[in-house]
Symmetry: C2
Subunit: 91 residues, 2 copies
């Protein structure tokens, strides 16, 4: 099997994965179980992947990381906006 | 600037980001706000990245995705194990 297919499958999966996560946070407006450090570090990391894609002039890297970055910004925004929302289940 | 540094920074950030997320879930044993679809799709995607790294014989890809996969398996396990835990704040 052409190993490039593995890369395409991986890139598509790790990009579209963020759509249901962002949708869930938009719907529930609760993000207590999302680590702020995860969200911030991932946003920075994916931004660097995007820059790397630009430097390499790689359209797949730019498009995949551009989409992921947008979804991560939504997740980060909701985390920052609603992290203090009242929740009696919080420890 | 050597663009390879962007790639290294991106790879390190998007790998270590999963450590605080996994730690938070281990500590709180609550994962309601984590999307199961996100966790499952990311796990599959990172597994494919790992296979791609093996096919390409890329040590950085293998090590980064190997670590991320382990942390994602922890996240997925806690999500599946505790997703039905009682939480009065749940909608």
């Amino acid at each position: 099997m052409d190993s490039e297919y593995l890369g395409y499958a991986a890139g598509i999966l790790t990009t579209v994965a963020f759509l249901p996560q962002a949708m869930q946070l938009i719907r529930t407006r609760q993000a207590r179980d999302i680590s702020l450090t995860w969200a911030a570090t991932m946003t920075a990391g994916v931004f660097f992947w995007l820059c790397y894609g630009v430097a390499k002039q790689s359209v797949p890297m730019i498009s995949a990381n551009g989409i992921t970055l947008l979804l991560l910004l939504v997740i980060l925004f909701i985390k920052l906006r609603y992290q203090d929302s009242t929740d009696t289940g919080e420890k």
